[in-house]
């Protein structure tokens, strides 16, 4: 196809021929822009829709959560762990020197207000949900959470201590609306 364009546009050397070349180039460029513009809405439609974005925040009443208990809430289709930590857990989390951590982060940087720890309950390895929310669950070697899929151990600050996961459990964007409730997202 390209060959025949060339053969038709380069026959002879009249000025009209170069004009056609320029015109063709402009037209082709315009058409290419048009085709690109057509792709835009299709790709755009794949993004999270407005109703999905509108549900991107979740409010949680934390008043019924007793010391040492956790709840799991749904946020953007993912579990979020909200843990009312005990004084021992907090102390254990803060006693660890940063040099021992795979993904160094002080416990204070992972919380908004004591004694609450709020993290996304999705293992940073390949997306499983770690155990440790129920009192009967295995909590791993560091008394936090344990991912049964590939054996990642998280501590009481939900930091990765052992296993294949590369980073600590993610802290979502959240804020305290009062002493009794938080808003995630």
């Amino acid at each position: 196809m390209a060959d025949s364009v060339a053969s038709h546009t380069t026959t002879g050397s009249t000025p009209g021929v170069t004009k056609r070349d320029f015109l063709q180039l402009t037209t082709t460029a315009f058409a290419a822009v048009g085709v690109g513009a057509i792709a835009w809405p299709f790709i755009g439609s794949l993004a999270p829709s407005k109703d999905v974005l509108a549900l991107a925040s979740t409010e949680v009443d934390i008043s019924p959560i007793a010391v040492g208990q956790s709840v799991t809430v749904m946020w953007r289709g993912k579990p979020v762990f909200v843990r009312h930590r005990t004084a021992e857990e907090i102390a254990a989390a803060r006693a660890v020197p940063l040099s021992e951590l795979k993904d160094p982060a002080p416990d204070q940087s992972r919380i908004r207000r004591d004694p609450w720890l709020v993290v996304v309950g999705v293992c940073t390895h390949l997306g499983c949900v770690p155990l440790g929310q129920k009192s009967t669950d295995a909590k791993g070697d560091y008394n936090g959470w344990f991912c049964p899929c590939h054996g990642s151990h998280y501590d009481t600050s939900a930091r990765i201590r052992k296993g294949p996961a590369p980073t600590n459990l993610e802290v979502p964007d959240y804020s305290f609306m009062s002493d009794r409730s938080i808003r995630i997202g």
Partner: protein
């Protein structure tokens, strides 16, 4: 070049490596590059390319709509509204798809009309024509099932009325209808299977379109004169002459399409389809989408259930026999003075059928639809067979180039560009 490799003329080494093993580039060159095409096409010959573009638009928008649509009676209507409101550009994709159906029928009706006027259905293009009729039937089925999916009042009652047509079939009719429905009325199972088939059929259409185009490239295109090209002086290579001419048509078509989508997206639809389906209340005035109206008028012209269905089906089936019903040796209506006039009247008649199909089933509309139905069939079953025998046709030009260039051509009036291409290809 090893044994069994295709003798590729492509210069780029990577492309040549591919082309030697799978000669797609050679094929495209041959079929869309140098393909010898009659030099005298008018703009009616754009509509095949337009239909192709339209099919691609429908499939692309349809796939993206299906990502957000829920085929369940309880959610279908709301999921369409969610597409219109919450999905980014959802309204655009949906309106393009919705109006694309109308555009598709406009384009295909003009394409069919062109075939009828210029005798494109005649030998040796009979099979090409029949494949086209198959595409038309598949389109009707696809469009009908697509219209059911938003699950509005017209969706529901259209589905009810059209599926009930099959109950006219003696003995097995009611069973067929029950099987179509998957129940005892149009309901969730019906919606589910319609969605499945609405997604499938367009790809079947793609397959038949491929055969349609393959058959076209065996016989070569017809042209407004209806005489076969006699040599290179009668043809031009498809590229660039017809690629650019088709491009002009495509841009004009897109502009009309865009005007509809952006400024009157619901003009061709029915207000009732924005009311959720209600199996207990039939809308006061139900009509199918405009592109089915001529056939709907034929259906209603007969005061007998089976008779109406048979005639409506016959209106399309008769097209399959058209190559043999038209006994004239001359293709183009340009050279058939009497048949031409009758055919133009038939065209008007088709518009009247469209109009009357949208009217209530009462007088005088019923009478008009009966007269028009009669004329529709008389043209195919009486006029065309008779005219081939009795009509005195005008003298055909000696060749396309002679008709186009005048007598000078045969005297060798200078080189004619793009005549290097040879006869219509013989399929490898």
């Amino acid at each position: 070049m090893g044994m069994g490799l295709h003798d590729s003329q492509v210069s780029n080494p990577v492309l040549r490596w591919i082309d030697q093993r799978l000669p797609v580039i050679t094929m495209i060159q041959k079929e869309y590059g140098v393909f010898p095409t009659p030099r005298n096409f008018n703009y009616f010959w754009n509509f095949g390319a337009l239909a192709m573009i339209n099919l691609m638009i429908m499939i692309a928008t349809g796939i993206f709509l299906a990502m957000n649509y829920t085929p369940h009676t309880a959610y279908a209507f709301d999921s369409v509204e969610r597409i219109m409101r919450d999905v980014h550009f959802g309204w655009l994709i949906r309106y393009v798809h919705m109006n694309g159906a109308s555009m598709f029928f406009v384009v295909v009706y003009v394409h069919i009309w062109r075939g009828l006027y210029y005798g494109s259905y005649k030998a040796p293009r009979e099979l090409l024509w029949m494949l086209g009729v198959v595409i038309f039937l598949l389109m009707m089925a696809t469009a009908f099932m697509g219209y059911v999916l938003p699950w509005g009042q017209m969706s529901f009652w259209g589905a009810t009325v059209i599926t009930n047509l099959f109950s006219a079939i003696p003995v097995v009719g009611p069973t067929i209808v029950t099987y179509l429905w998957g129940g005892f009325s149009v309901d969730n199972p019906t919606l589910n299977r319609f969605f499945s088939l609405h997604y499938l059929l367009p790809f079947v259409i793609v397959g038949v379109v491929f055969l349609h185009v393959a058959a076209l490239h065996i016989t070569g295109s017809n042209n407004p004169l209806g005489i076969e090209p006699k040599g290179p002086q009668d043809t031009l290579p498809f590229h660039p002459y017809y690629t650019i001419k088709d491009s002009v048509g495509i841009v004009v078509y897109l502009a009309v399409f865009a005007a509809l989508v952006f400024f009157a997206p619901n003009y061709l639809g029915h207000a009732d389809n924005y009311i959720p389906a209600n199996p207990l209340v039939t809308p006061a005035h139900i009509v199918p989408e405009w592109y089915f109206l001529p056939f709907y008028a034929i259906l209603r012209a007969v005061p007998d259930k089976l008779g109406g269905v048979v005639l409506m089906g016959g209106a399309i089936i008769v097209l399959f026999f058209l190559p043999w019903l038209d006994t004239s040796k001359v293709r183009s209506m340009r050279f058939r003075p009497i048949t031409r006039i009758i055919f133009l009247l038939w065209t008007v008649n088709f518009f009247v059928l469209t109009w009357v199909g949208g009217k209530p089933a009462e007088q005088p509309y019923v009478l008009i639809s009966q007269i028009c139905t009669m004329f529709y069939f008389v043209y195919f079953l009486v006029v065309l067979p008779m005219m081939g025998r009795f009509e005195v046709v005008m003298k055909l030009p000696e060749s396309i180039s002679r008709a186009v260039l005048g007598a000078k051509a045969s005297l060798g009036g200078g080189p004619i560009p793009g005549t290097a291409a040879a006869k219509p290809m013989e399929k490898a």
